[in-house]
């Protein structure tokens, strides 16, 4: 008798490129794997655009009194750079990895709502298209990615860019909510019957918790966006202080979303790192329960800290003090995770593959970003540094050193599964070193620039002591990153031209996605392997010393 669980047949075949050929199937497909890949392509596409914008910003700032672009264009570019990287690169990349991998990792054949999955992707895509259409309709948004009123109100920004920003982000927000609903339902209802909730792979657990964060955070953002749209299009006055509104209300809406958003972008990266480090250290994760439980702590605490983004708006000392404490507290579960990852590597048989390179870089750079974050929890330091390049450095250490390095680790790790081919290790090393050196050169120096007083969001600057040289080196670092990304794209291009040679489990990993062929078939699992622990493939490979049975 087979111990494998037979998967039921679908009642109705759903559209997919793997079922038939035809360009329309790119639009109509509801296969989670194809949608996951499309999310990743979307993120890569916008990464190129956002990256080019970053290069223009650094070129403009590489020299004092520079006039490479006009101030107007600079404002549009720095607004779109932030908006693109957060909503159209990091979010789609992480949702894309989740969409591709969650069903495979829990032994399901698709997401719970395949059509909603496609709807979510196309909403995100349409949001991005609308956002960029603004350049053809009178100019892009230029009130910053945070879109603070009253600057974003019609009185001060009369071009349509802000309207496209509002509608575009509402659509991407709806897409994200749809994806989150799908993740929650899929994990709760579709996982292998033998896989209890406390046996989930850490990536899935973190995406699961993250989905709740998204469900709570994005409605807040969308509410604020709607109100701002009403202000602009129907002469409402929600955020216009001169007629009884409150500009601070927008900040509450935005940061009540914005701080959880930091964790929405960080938790999946934590999940990726929690899969990569054990596999390439050849040890199970150290303290699974702490890593998993601290995720919930981060998710819950992330809603109690948003006012630390508003320390300078004139909240009272009492309010500031409490938020300072809660902001410091949230560092505890995050720090706990870092200790667990290091503990996993300790005495492990470490294999220095490219995913592991990025995981190690993540550990170092994300920790630096976390430490500079803690410094912002100290109210007087925040008052001093919040409007300087120190903050720019901090946010990039969190989003690049944290989320993006996690995504790179994930892409190198799961690329063989997704495509059936391994990315070149030689080119991967070039990508890694160019990007990591460039990243630290660019953004570490910005801490110093901030501390010596260079304000953020400025178009150009006077030739003050050290500003020129630090900015120049910062821009050189950006060029390194740009070159690193070019190598990465070349690596993907050349690898995809090669034949598929990868076996189902090229890394000797332990989770269920490695039990299916690379790339997986349309139907992920005909039979699901037995799942008795958090490392089912380890148990299959080592029947003499299986992990502790959990069901």
């Amino acid at each position: 008798m087979s111990l494998y669980i037979k998967m039921p047949e679908e009642n109705e075949p759903l559209p997919s490129l793997k079922r038939a050929r035809g360009k329309l199937l790119w639009i109509s497909s509801v296969d989670h794997k194809q949608l996951g890949i499309m999310y990743l392509w979307l993120a890569l596409f916008f990464f190129i655009i956002g990256g080019l914008q970053a290069m223009i910003i650094r070129a403009q700032l590489s020299w004092p009194e520079n006039h490479l672009v006009s101030p107007e264009m600079y404002s549009q570019i720095f607004t779109m750079h932030g908006t693109t990287m957060i909503f159209l690169v990091l979010m789609p990349a992480l949702i894309g990895l989740g969409t591709y991998l969650i069903p495979l990792m829990i032994g399901a054949n698709d997401m719970a709502f395949p059509r909603l999955n496609a709807f979510s992707f196309w909403m995100t895509c349409m949001g991005g298209v609308l956002l960029y259409f603004s350049f053809l309709a009178g100019g892009g948004p230029k009130a910053g990615w945070f879109n603070y009123p009253p600057l974003s109100e019609m009185n001060y920004t009369s071009t349509a860019g802000v309207d496209y920003y509002l509608v575009g982000l509402i659509l991407t927000g709806i897409g994200s909510i749809g994806a989150a609903l799908n993740f929650v339902t899929t994990v709760l209802c579709m996982r292998s019957p033998e896989m209890k909730l406390n046996m989930l792979p850490l990536f899935v657990w973190m995406m699961f918790v993250n989905a709740f964060l998204m469900l709570a955070a994005f409605p807040l953002l969308n509410s604020g966006l709607f109100l701002n749209l009403l202000d602009r299009q129907f002469d409402a006055h929600f955020f216009i202080p001169s007629s009884g509104g409150s500009a601070l209300l927008w900040q509450h809406f935005f940061w009540a979303f914005g701080h959880p958003e930091v964790y929405i972008l960080a938790l999946p990266a934590f999940g990726i790192i929690s899969e990569v480090i054990p596999v390439f250290s050849r040890r199970p994760i150290f303290g699974y329960k702490f890593v998993a439980a601290s995720t919930v702590a981060i998710a819950l605490l992330s809603y109690s800290v948003w006012a630390h983004h508003m320390f300078t708006v004139g909240l009272s000392n009492a309010v500031n003090s409490f938020f300072a404490i809660s902001s410091m507290l949230i560092g505890i579960p995050t720090g706990l995770k870092v200790i667990n990852w290091i503990g996993t590597m300790y005495k492990g048989s470490i294999r220095l593959t490219i995913p592991m390179f990025f995981a190690i870089a993540f550990l170092i750079d994300f920790t630096l970003g976390g430490l500079s974050g803690i410094s912002f929890a100290i109210v007087p330091i925040d008052w001093q540094l919040t409007d300087t390049y120190y903050l720019v450095a901090h946010i990039h250490y969190v989003f690049l050193g944290g989320s993006l390095f996690g995504i790179f680790a994930g892409i190198y790790y799961w690329f063989p599964k997704i495509s059936g081919r391994k990315l070149s290790k030689r080119l991967g090393k070039w990508h890694f070193w160019l990007f990591v050196i460039g990243f630290n050169l660019t953004f570490f120096l910005q801490h110093i620039l901030g501390m010596i007083g260079m304000p953020r969001r400025i178009y150009t600057y006077p030739d003050l002591p050290y500003w020129k040289v630090l900015n120049l080196f910062s821009s050189i670092g950006a060029f390194f990153m740009f070159t690193g990304m070019a190598v990465f794209f070349w690596n993907i291009y050349t690898t995809l031209k090669k034949p598929r040679t990868v076996t189902s489990n090229p890394w000797n990993a332990w989770t269920l996605e490695w039990a299916v062929p690379s790339p997986p078939n349309l139907k992920n699992f005909v039979e699901i392997p037995p799942v008795h622990s958090r490392r089912p493939l380890w148990d299959l490979d080592h029947p003499d010393k299986p992990d502790k049975r959990l069901n």
Binding site: A297, S316, A318, S504, N505, V526, P543, N551
Partner: protein, 297 residues
Amino acid sequence: MNVLNYFLDASHWSLPWLIGLGLVFIGYLLLLRTAILQKVSFFSALLFIYITIGSPVSQLNNFGLHSVIMLQQFFILMLVPVLILKSLPSELFKETRLASFNFSKNPSYAIVAFWIIGAIAMWGGHLLSAAILSSKTGVAICGIVVSKGSWITHIPGILIMGLVLWAGLIFSFPIFHPDSSKRLAPVASVIYLFTACLSCSLLGLYVAFSASAASAAEAVPFFTTLRNPIPLSVRTDQEIAGMIMWVPGCIFYVVLSMGILLRWYNDPITETEKNPETIKTSTIPKKTIQYGNTEQI
């Protein structure tokens, strides 16, 4: 009188309450056979009760400090019920009606009812206390203004505290049922606590940010003279009150959730113990099995 003198003044420490609670603890030790940790838990509960109703903290109430009321409610509604439930042996409940509730079998109506009782106590207890405070001081608290000498001031504070404690016990019961097999399932417990955390966040938000809408006159130092020995303006006092409910309140529920989750991860076979028929007898198969579908479409 400064803060130190106020706290060192013996007349501000209630002897009857100290003796009363001491006798309760002696009774607990004599009548119930419990583990050391349970004894510590019960002692802590009594200590917090004493701080709430018998210590100088409780008498700060008389100076019209809203933040003190919030601190008292935090202790009595959230902290003390958990400590009490953790300290009681399960046999004590065997013959009671409460013991018949088996939350692991998910009677959702009961869970919702217990949760609502807790939320009502959280909001109702606070609003009632705010109204009494407003009546005593003549100051608007959270936008509530009650005239001096109103009947509401005659409601004994101890009655309100007693009701809040009862509601807190009811609220905490599904999570900390003395019989652990009858508790709410771990993930459901986290959701139960998370929604409570949302409720206390909303209350904290309301209280903290409605302070800024208070009359500007109430922010001037004149009012601080009414509030010795801890001089706070009405506005600062109310902001601290809101933040106590929001931040420590939420962190308390987060800590409880963490405790539940960590136990859940540590105790993976709970479900199979509950449902023995689900225990598999299969052994791990040898590595001769072909993974997945090998057919490419």
